[in-house]
C-alpha cells in the first residue's frame, strides 16, 4: 500500500507538465543560410564571372569556379544593449556547387545547427564567424625575365589551400576580406576585422517566443551571380607574381588595380518569421505595379525608398590629376619591382617611380587640406548604411511570389524592369508605378495602401 501511495505521489509530480528533455533536444528556432540576393525563387546562375578592374597584369585566363567552400565557426546573436548570445557554437563546413540545384543557391537554403535563444529579448543583429571562404579555379602566374620590357607571364598552375583538413583546389579569400580598402588607410587597420566576425543586421529583429512551434532565422549572403575574378599582386624572390582568384563582387566597395584587400563586399542580411504566421505576396496583392518578365521584386520598409536598395551614389575617391582644391584623392600605389637582370625593365621601373612621386605630391596636397579623410569617411559611411531588402525574388515570366512575409508588417514592394548583369545587384526607382505599399494584419489579410 505504501508503495502504491509513493508511486502515486511520484507520478503526481509530473501532472500537467511540459516535456523538458524534449524541449532541450529540439529547437524551435531554425537557422537557414542562403547564398542568394533573393529570399525565394532566385534567378538562375548566369554562368558569368566578370573580371574586376583589379586585373591589369598577366595574361587572360579562362579558369572558372565550380564550387564555394565555407567554414563557419560560430554564429552569435546581438541585442540592442550589446548583449551577446552564442546560440550556434557549432562549427560546420560546407562545400557548395555553383549550380541551381544546390540548396544554398536554389532559394531553399541550408540548415545550420543552433540552440534556442532566450525569449523576451529583441535580437537586432548577429555575428557570423567565417573561418574560411574558398572558391576553386584560382591560378598563379609569374613574370619571367629574359624578355625585353614587360617580360612573359607564365602559369604556375592552380592554387591549393587547406579546407576541412584536406588540401583543396582554390584560394581562401578570407584574409583579403579582413579589411576594406578604406580600413587599410587607417592607422588602426590591424585592429579591424570585418570577416571574423561578419556583422549582419536582422531586419525587423528576432523576437523569439517559445509559444511558437517554429521560428525561422533566415540569413542571406549574396554569392549567386555576384562573383568576380580578381588579381592579387605580390613579389617573391625578386619576381612579380599574381594570383587570379574569385571572390564576392566589389559592387559595394570598389576594388581597383593593385588593391591588396577586397573586404566589405560580403553583402548579408537576416530576417525572422514564425512558421504559419506568414503570407505570400503575389501579383494579386500588388495591383498598381506591372511586373514584367526577367526582373526583380523586392520589399523595403514602408517609409524607406526603393532607391535605398541601390548602390550608394558616393563614388570611391580617386587620385586627383587636375583641379584645385582637390576633389578626389586616393593613395597612389608604387610601381612593382622590375624583372631581375633586365636593364630595360629597371629603366621602366624608374620612369614609373618618377610618375609615382608626382602623384604622391598631389596626394599629399589632398591630405594636407583634409579632403582625404572627409571624402573617404563619406564613402565609407555611405557603404556602411547599405542594406539588402528583407524579402526579394526574381521573376522570369512576370508572375512572382514573395514568400513567408510575416504578419503584422508593412512593406513597400519595389519593382524595376531592368535586370542587372553578373556581379551587379538590381537597382530600383521610386517612380509612380514602380512600387506599391502593402500592409499585412495579424490575420494574414493583405491591404494595399493608397
Amino acid at each position: 500500500m505504501r508503495v502504491v501511495v509513493l508511486l502515486m505521489i511520484v507520478f503526481a509530480l509530473g501532472c500537467g507538465k511540459k516535456a523538458l528533455f524534449d524541449e532541450l533536444a529540439e529547437n524551435r528556432l531554425k537557422v537557414v543560410i542562403k547564398g542568394t540576393y533573393e529570399s525565394n525563387d532566385p534567378r538562375s546562375w548566369l554562368g558569368a564571372f566578370p573580371d574586376d578592374d583589379s586585373i591589369d597584369d598577366g595574361i587572360a585566363n579562362t579558369e572558372l569556379p565550380t564550387r564555394l567552400m565555407l567554414d563557419i565557426a560560430e554564429i552569435q546573436l546581438l541585442d540592442k544593449e550589446g548583449g551577446v548570445e552564442p546560440f550556434s557554437k557549432y562549427r560546420e563546413v560546407y562545400t557548395l556547387d555553383l549550380n541551381d540545384s544546390e540548396s544554398f543557391f536554389s532559394g531553399m537554403g541550408i540548415g545550420h545547427p543552433n540552440d534556442d535563444v532566450e525569449a523576451g529579448r529583441l535580437w537586432t543583429g548577429m555575428r557570423l564567424f567565417l573561418r574560411k571562404m574558398v572558391f576553386d579555379g584560382a591560378m598563379q602566374y609569374h613574370l619571367i625575365p629574359g624578355e625585353p620590357g614587360i617580360g612573359t607571364w607564365t602559369s604556375d598552375g592552380k592554387l591549393y589551400t587547406i579546407f576541412d583538413v584536406d588540401s583543396v583546389e582554390g584560394l581562401d579569400v578570407n584574409p583579403l576580406q579582413v579589411n576594406t580598402y578604406y580600413d587599410s588607410l587607417k592607422q588602426n587597420a590591424k585592429e579591424i576585422n570585418r570577416i571574423f566576425p561578419l556583422k549582419i543586421p536582422i531586419i525587423g529583429g528576432l523576437n523569439f517566443n517559445y509559444a511558437n512551434d517554429e521560428t525561422v532565422l533566415e540569413i542571406r549572403l549574396v554569392f549567386k551571380n555576384f562573383v568576380k575574378r580578381y588579381e592579387y599582386d605580390f613579389v617573391r624572390d625578386g619576381y612579380h607574381y599574381i594570383y587570379r582568384y574569385f571572390g564576392p563582387s566589389d559592387w559595394l566597395r570598389d576594388v581597383v588595380a593593385d588593391d591588396a584587400v577586397i573586404g566589405g563586399n560580403i553583402i548579408a542580411v537576416a530576417r525572422s518569421y514564425v512558421r504559419g504566421k506568414t503570407v505570400d505576396i503575389t501579383n494579386a496583392h500588388t495591383t498598381g505595379i506591372t511586373v514584367v518578365a526577367n526582373s526583380y521584386v523586392a520589399a523595403v520598409g514602408p517609409d524607406s525608398l526603393c532607391a535605398s536598395l541601390n548602390r550608394p551614389s558616393v563614388v570611391r575617391p580617386t587620385l586627383r590629376t587636375s583641379g584645385t582644391p582637390p576633389a578626389q584623392c586616393d593613395n597612389p600605389k608604387g610601381p612593382h619591382v622590375p624583372i631581375p637582370n633586365d636593364i630595360e625593365s629597371y629603366l621602366d621601373y624608374y620612369l614609373k617611380y618618377e610618375k609615382y612621386k608626382e602623384n604622391y605630391n598631389l596626394f599629399a596636397a589632398c591630405v594636407s587640406d583634409g579632403s582625404f579623410s572627409t571624402l573617404w569617411d563619406e564613402y565609407n559611411d555611405s557603404r556602411n548604411a547599405y542594406l539588402l531588402p528583407a524579402v526579394a525574388t526574381w521573376t522570369s515570366d512576370g508572375s512572382f511570389t514573395l514568400k513567408n512575409v510575416p504578419y503584422n508588417s508593412s512593406w513597400k514592394i519595389c519593382h524595376r524592369q531592368t535586370s542587372p548583369g553578373a556581379g551587379d545587384l538590381p537597382e530600383f526607382t521610386d517612380n509612380a508605378g514602380d512600387f506599391v505599399v502593402v500592409t499585412i494584419d495579424g490575420g494574414g489579410n493583405v491591404a494595399i495602401s493608397p
Binding site: V10, G14, A19, F21, D22, E23, D116
Partner: protein
C-alpha cells in the same frame, strides 16, 4: 548451552556496535556527473555533488536512504540543464565478511528540472539504481565510492519521447552517528 547462546548474542551485539553499517549515517558525495543516452546529445558531463542520510531498518542487511544533490550541465551552446534530484532509496548490503561494505540500492523520488535558455522548471518523477562501496576510516567516518543511474521520467507526459538519463559517480564521506 544457554551460557553459550548468551555469550554469542553479546558478541554479535558487540560486533554490530563496531560495524559502521549498523549506525545512522549522514554524509556527502562529490564527483563526475555524466549525461547518457539521449541526454548526452544535448549537454556535456560535469561535476556534481550532494548530501545523504542513511537510517537503519528492522532488517540488518537493509537501510533506508534519502539523497539530495545538485547537478548542473552546460553544453557547447547556450543550452543548460540543472537538476535537483531528491529521492528515497532502499539499500541492501551484500553479505560479505569483509570490512568493505558493498551496497546495492534502488529508489525513486522527484527531480526539480530547469532547462535554459527556455528558463522552464518543474518537478519530474525519477528513479534510481546504483551501488556504493565503503570502508571504515576510524570510528566516526567511512569513505566510499558510489555510482548511480538516474532516470528522470517524462514519458508519462503526453507527446514526450525523451527521459533524462544521468550517471553519477563520486567519492562519498559517511559520518557515523550513534553508539
Amino acid at each position: 548451552m544457554c551460557m553459550v547462546l548468551v555469550s554469542l548474542s553479546a558478541h554479535a551485539r558487540q560486533g554490530r556496535k563496531k560495524d559502521p553499517f549498523t549506525k545512522f549515517q549522514a554524509g556527502f558525495w562529490f564527483g563526475p556527473i555524466t549525461p547518457v543516452y539521449t541526454t548526452a546529445d544535448d549537454v556535456n558531463k560535469s561535476l556534481g555533488g550532494g548530501i545523504f542520510l542513511r537510517s537503519l531498518t528492522f532488517l540488518d542487511s537493509f537501510k533506508l536512504g534519502i539523497d539530495a544533490s545538485y547537478e548542473k550541465f552546460e553544453s557547447r551552446g547556450v543550452n543548460k540543464l540543472i537538476l535537483w534530484p531528491v529521492y528515497g532509496s532502499l539499500l541492501w548490503r551484500i553479505p560479505l565478511k569483509t570490512p568493505l561494505v558493498i551496497q546495492l540500492k534502488a529508489g525513486g523520488g522527484g527531480c526539480y528540472v530547469t532547462i535554459y535558455p527556455d528558463r522552464a522548471s518543474q518537478w519530474d518523477p525519477m528513479f534510481m539504481l546504483g551501488g556504493e562501496v565503503s570502508f571504515p576510516a576510524g570510528k566516526w567516518v567511512n569513505i566510499g565510492l558510489r555510482i548511480e543511474y538516474l532516470c528522470i521520467y517524462e514519458n508519462h507526459i503526453p507527446g514526450s519521447v525523451r527521459n533524462g538519463h544521468i550517471v553519477n559517480a563520486g567519492i562519498s564521506l559517511y559520518f557515523n552517528f550513534g553508539s
